[in-house]
């Protein structure tokens, strides 16, 4: 078994309104920053031991499917690194 960190990034699907990100963007503009757009995402780092990087990615993907993301509104991406 090898120790890995699987990173799961969960973000709203393209086209789904994100009022929190819009509010955050507006607050940055109020502070004087110039920006075109702002998107927010949730990042989960999961430490786990697995036989291979593929195995670690598969398990993290299942975590995303079953809890970390809501497939109705979210897309997610999994990356794996040795820890």
């Amino acid at each position: 078994m090898t120790p890995y960190t699987a990173t799961v990034e969960v973000r709203l699907k393209h086209g789904v309104l994100d009022p929190e990100a819009e509010t955050t963007g507006r607050a940055l503009e109020r502070l004087g920053f110039e920006l075109e757009d702002l998107r927010a995402a949730d990042l989960f780092e999961v430490d786990l031991d697995a036989e291979s990087a593929e195995d670690a990615a598969e398990r993290a993907g299942e975590m995303a499917e079953r809890l970390l993301a809501n497939p109705t509104i979210h897309d997610y991406e999994v990356t794996v690194e040795e820890r």
């Binding site: 309104l17 994100d18 009022p19 929190e20 809890l67 809501n70 109705t72 509104i73």
Partner: protein, 225 residues
């Protein structure tokens, strides 16, 4: 013979719901989620509140708690199941009902009375109303914007699975009368069966005559049949 009002850590409309049901002479009891559904359960309410502090997403944690397997079995066998507010979020998170409730378009918590148009009066939850009738319920949520992909929403509408829409007092579902930016002004939907429903507005808060309006009784009476 009892309606189980399921309490999670952070539920806070559970006792209101029992009181509203009791007023309608419907036997109801509080059921702590870890205790499981009573053997004589004749109905289930997933009440409003902030289960698990809305961690991750509103309703996400409660939807994965073991009692929800029992609630699903009950729903599949025809037992009426109603999710109100946080219970609606739990219902969608657990796929008892389609879609998702997410952050209000305003990005604010909204607590106000809204008008709802009865879209389908041929369900246990709405048979006391007429189709197109306008009723007044309160909302109190930060994450009540109904989201679903367009194709799935078309299917729901074609199959008459939308229960209530936000509307103005004349029954028009205008953007101004949509408090949270819900897609097509959807405020409540049915699950696979008519006996399973969720809605963000609170029928239990407009069911006691002492409080004033009693439009919510129509929804809760489904448990008395």
């Amino acid at each position: 013979m009892t309606v189980a009002v399921v309490q999670f850590g952070g539920s806070n409309c559970d006792r209101d719901t029992v009181q509203a049901l009791a007023h309608l002479d419907i036997d109801a009891e509080l059921v702590w989620h870890e205790d499981g559904l009573p053997a004589d359960t004749t109905g289930v309410v997933l009440p409003g509140g902030f289960s698990y502090g809305d961690y991750l997403r509103a309703g996400a944690m409660a939807a994965r708690s073991p009692i929800m397997g029992e609630v699903r079995d009950a729903a599949d066998s025809g037992t009426p199941v109603l999710g109100i507010c946080n219970g609606a979020q739990i219902g969608c998170e657990s796929s008892l009902t389609p879609g998702a409730f997410t952050t209000n378009e305003s990005a604010r918590f909204q607590c106000e009375r809204v008008n709802l148009r009865v879209e389908n009066a041929d369900t246990p939850w709405t048979e006391g109303f007429d189709e197109g009738e306008v009723v007044e319920f309160p909302i109190a949520h930060g994450e009540g914007r109904y989201e679903i992909d367009d194709g799935r929403l078309d299917e729901l509408e074609a199959d008459d699975r939308v229960l209530f829409r936000y509307c103005d007092e004349d029954g028009e579902a205008t953007p101004e009368a949509n408090p949270n930016g819900s897609k097509h002004s959807v405020a409540g939907v049915l699950g696979d069966r008519d006996s399973v429903a969720v809605l963000m507005p609170h029928p239990e808060r407009v069911s006691l005559p002492d409080i004033g309006h009693t439009d919510g009784q129509g929804v809760l009476r489904a448990f008395g049949e």
